[in-house]
Symmetry: D2
Subunit: 388 residues, 4 copies
């Protein structure tokens, strides 16, 4: 039987315990845990961020930019911290940022914003479930009051309803201020559910989540109705810039996109773009986001056109980008430095951060997309030419 991990019930997030656990690792597994122990975080301060604190993962961080953003909250040039271990990622985003900077920057907008918890109520039959749905609509004001009583910043925006069998799924949508808000909306929804249970006769039981939230996983529902921020980044890139900097024409990029859109549709993909997950993940790690939300946040809808002038309008819609400037890992030392670097530290900056991430993603799309095409969109003719 393996030994238990050392733990101090009273005060576990301490340097003493972290050190003890690193020793434990060495004894048990032979791994030195030396680098894990090299950090500038105050062990005590990790309380609330991690249990059994033992050290830190050191994730290399590079700088990309300047990124020119024409947002409503983010305006101007930004240096973007990206934490990743994948070579060429920073370089590729950087290349895209140069292109978009020369093209005048990225227009980016937050067009929707809500965090959800979706309880489900079980009834005797579908008819009772439907009647309950009507009651919920009629009592939305009272439900809101109960839900909002549990939080200072969360506001209940609306409750969507979905019906199947004898079940009624309610999807509570909240605005959550600077926080991502998963915990906040969980508490608020729980309070609302308990109140509903007291008020309404005939509910057999309920669950706080019936999996229509959909938390930590992508769904078509999220693509349709957003989760976190719905961010749209757009730009018109002059054909000549694409040719000069990327070695491809707008027209070739456009034609290749028709083909990749068709591939995405056939594959049943959650994202018809190139690699939004790369930029989002690197920024999430750097700025202390809940990185597991990449599962949802990496969904994307790309829409492009060729302008009458032959330039390339490229847009990417991120329907469920979950970001925070408060709570979670945002207050940790390196993470806070990265938020400061972006001017996203302090209150009221979460949409600014969302816009910066959206703009970054767009740069990566064009950079990779162009690279693939420049190298590989090979006509027979070019092929023969190349081999001479």
């Amino acid at each position: 039987m393996a030994d238990r991990i050392p733990r101090n019930k009273d005060n576990d997030n301490s340097e003493t315990m972290a050190s003890q656990r690193r020793d434990f690792i060495q004894q048990q597994t032979g791994s030195t845990a030396r680098h894990l122990g090299h950090y500038s975080i105050d062990a005590e301060s990790t309380q609330g961020n991690i249990e059994h604190f033992t050290g830190v993962a050191q994730v290399p961080l590079g700088l990309a930019g300047p990124l020119r953003v024409n947002g409503e909250h983010a305006q101007g040039d930004f240096y973007v911290p990206m934490a990743t271990t994948e070579g060429t990622l920073v370089a590729s985003y950087n290349r895209g940022m140069r292109l978009l900077r020369d093209a005048g920057g990225i227009t980016v907008s937050v067009v929707d914003d809500a965090m959800q918890r979706a309880p489900v109520f079980v009834f005797k039959d579908a008819r009772q479930a439907r009647d309950f749905g009507v009651w919920v609509e009629q009592n939305i004001a009272a439900i809101r009051e109960v839900a909002e009583s549990t939080t200072s910043s969360g506001k209940l925006l609306r409750i969507d309803q979905y019906a199947a069998a004898c079940l009624r799924y309610l999807r509570f949508n909240f605005s959550t201020g600077d926080a991502a808000g998963q915990n906040m909306v969980g508490r608020a929804t729980f309070a609302a559910c308990e109140w509903i249970m007291q008020q309404y006769q005939g509910i057999e039981r309920y669950m706080l989540s019936g999996s229509m939230d959909t938390d930590k996983k992508h769904s078509q529902l999220n693509t349709l109705h957003s989760r976190g921020k719905r961010v749209i980044a757009e730009a018109v890139i002059p054909d000549h810039l694409l040719r000069e900097q990327m070695g491809v024409s707008a027209e070739l990029l456009f034609r290749s996109r028709q083909i990749s859109n068709t591939g995405s549709f056939m594959a049943g993909a959650m994202n018809n773009g190139s690699h939004s997950a790369n930029g989002i993940t690197a920024l999430f790690i750097a700025t202390g986001q809940d990185v597991a939300n990449v599962a949802e946040s990496s969904a994307a809808v790309v829409y492009v056109t060729l302008t009458p002038e032959g330039d390339y309008y490229y847009s990417i819609t991120l329907p469920s980008l979950i970001v925070a400037t408060h709570g979670g890992g945002t207050g940790l030392p390196t993470q806070q430095e990265c938020l400061q670097m972006l001017g996203c530290s302090g209150s009221g900056k979460v949409n600014k951060l969302a816009e910066i991430i959206g703009a970054t993603v767009l740069c990566g799309e064009l950079s990779l997309g162009a690279a693939v095409i420049a190298g590989d969109w090979v006509t027979s003719h070019e092929q023969y030419g190349r081999n001479r």
Copy 2:
């Protein structure tokens, strides 16, 4: 116009340049970048992992376990390093590990393994595209030879074909040894494509990716046909353990799962489980995986039964878990320590790592699933009881 980020064209991954960039950040943005500069990584060694190396993100790391794994490659008890900033995550997984340990451990198996690159070939019409497909099948041996000539460890397993319009999408499937292999299969497929272009008349053009790979994004195709490792973790948890440790019965968990499965199906979710992304992400950051692959790796299919004895069979199938023990960030200091901790350093250990991740995910599913139900599956009767 913003200043350009300092860069040394000859030798950019150096302590000098990193330091210079941290100074640059301070001048430009006011952020001190002090903590970012606190690391034990050798700046030179980050070459190939990052560009414009500036420092590190310090991500808190906790220990969970021991995790009892009954794998084919991983056998015995493991201490699992999890890098996250989300409070309760490590505790929750740890709680699940205890439950599963008492239940005899997790049976986990890698049942499929392949990395893909999916070029698309454009023809005059569908008929020509179809004929090309036949030719590819007939010439698979020659194509394999060309593809494998570019790599020492990659093996071309098969080429799947998908047809639409005048297009033929070929999905090359490779085994890639200890590496995740995205770059390896890109190179090998490119070589194969160029050879095909020389051999076959009538191809109008091709693209190295037609978006049916599907890289850095989830797709139904990945769920069906795997990407990376297809890992299945299973366990039978005695009802009495669930009651004692989790405060819920197997039967209640089972019933609640019917409802959440229905919610997942209606939502069009990529995952009918609870939160596999949490465990995967924390282990990916800790062990130097390409964290952006959480987009694909977080997909899951949960299947459960109640045994005749009333115990709970729970399984989770991860159809596209992308892991490596070689390449990417796996060689970096803290990341290598974490791999060593798991006995996954050195060659031939990648399936062991995949099994450990799969087993970890299962523990998290049960822990969160039980917590949700224990707290919230409220019958009217219990409700009234509670309020007395």
Copy 3:
């Protein structure tokens, strides 16, 4: 060059022209068209239902029932006309109807009802599209007035909005009385759009459909938000009846459903049930529905439980059942006879028809489901026994 089909510009739906076209077929193709010409329809009366009227397809029609329905609109026993050419279909549904009759009938409810047309508006950028969305919400009353001015029975229930790129998709939801309403909502939405174009500055262009309706095709959107009627049919079938009439236990059916649900989820299916399309199609042909709507109407969500007593609760949710008792083919001779047979002729009967169809579908699910399991769910033990 082939000859043109005979046509009379002034009066084409006549017996003369039909006969002329049948002769034309014989001359051109050698097919006698004799049976096609055997009908009791008045050629003139087909005006508005078909162009180039030439004859009729004679589709065999069988009777199933009595079907016991516990609806809100349909109550009691019904004889169900099913038009099909697939042997065993009527017998299978009939078998299910007997089972459900003995089980006390089917509880069926219409829980939602709307027909959609989803125009899309194009803007300069996402921000303008978002602002337009706000304006639409603020002007819903005026938009409703314009839309409803085009129809005596259509009512604009709500406008859903979906955002991507510089586009705003508006999904108009109408109640449409006894008609399916596709044309009605098309006209009403067109009027609304034209009015919007006059009122709102900055719209670059619009299309009456941006493919988010989604008409004549299934979508996850329809599953979530309904199209036509959302009908839920439910029943609790005693275990002993399943054993006696179907040769399977409730428990075996329940276990097999876990497995088929998993298969449906992996396959990305629009329906986790057995064959709702069969019953729906046979009733659609018989009663003069727009049979092409089977594309949407065949979507389904099945949810089942085992009751504490060991009986089988089976429910099927049809999220987009499109039915009419007025318009389309409902007034044609055999179709009208079938509607009369069901007591669904005349005004105010469309929900009754929807309930009968939902109840019929449930019977077919249990009949086929049980047949598959009774024959094929073979344990090793049974297998050996059988071969002795």
Copy 4:
């Protein structure tokens, strides 16, 4: 308690019984069933197509065409019988046929062909399921022999495998000659499964269908891997023809398609085209197909380009078109006449029929697509102009 439907156990498909049932309807429901009794079908001949034969649904049938097809099996001009009750449907397809005829006809190809039955085998755990999968691959020749022994025309092409939990889903793919083949492949797969049960130790149980077939419902799996015929119809339509006949330019159609593709992707639609279900259903009813297969057959992938000359390449891929010229309703009187009309009566004509349906669908796509755009793609400028 309602009366039972009259039935003759020995010989139920007779005119006597049909007449008796029509009288029964009148007595029970008041509906005359007079038109239902007007038919030229021989009641005895409906044996095998329907139970409780009572009469026929008379579905109006119109002619469209000539349709110019450049297939491998269908070549030349065809008059297309369409059975529908939806006004304008025949006219709309006819309009598209004229356009495509003037454009030189439709190139159409059958690029894949298979009918499936997908049993699932249950094991103790995932590892045993995986090992079974290997055994199946190794024993494919023997399995094929057993399966094919049950049918004269069915050939086992391959067995696809899908893994989840302790389950192994096998998807048997057969070619089925002139028949749609659902029953044929059911029997053959059943024989194979029974043989497997005898040969292989350790299977806990199996089901003949684990819902990955996916029969009578659309799935992403069908889109990827076909069910029935995979048919691709293509054409290049000169811009001037579009302008002259449809009142829209190729460029406008192309631009609008970008937008509707985006809508389809967001909606999670099974079809990014316009209304393939309309043409397919009308031809299915006319030619005696299993109309319920519209659920699967209506899936489609549309891919378009603008040629360098400014013309419009339009293609539609029908991934799961299920058609037959033998069996089912194909031998019934009006249905057989329609097959003869198309030159698709007799053996070896099923691909010809598939091509004709594919070509018809393409005509409908362009006709409706153009109509929508011509009427509704309204710029502000045009709008003002119109109102003067």
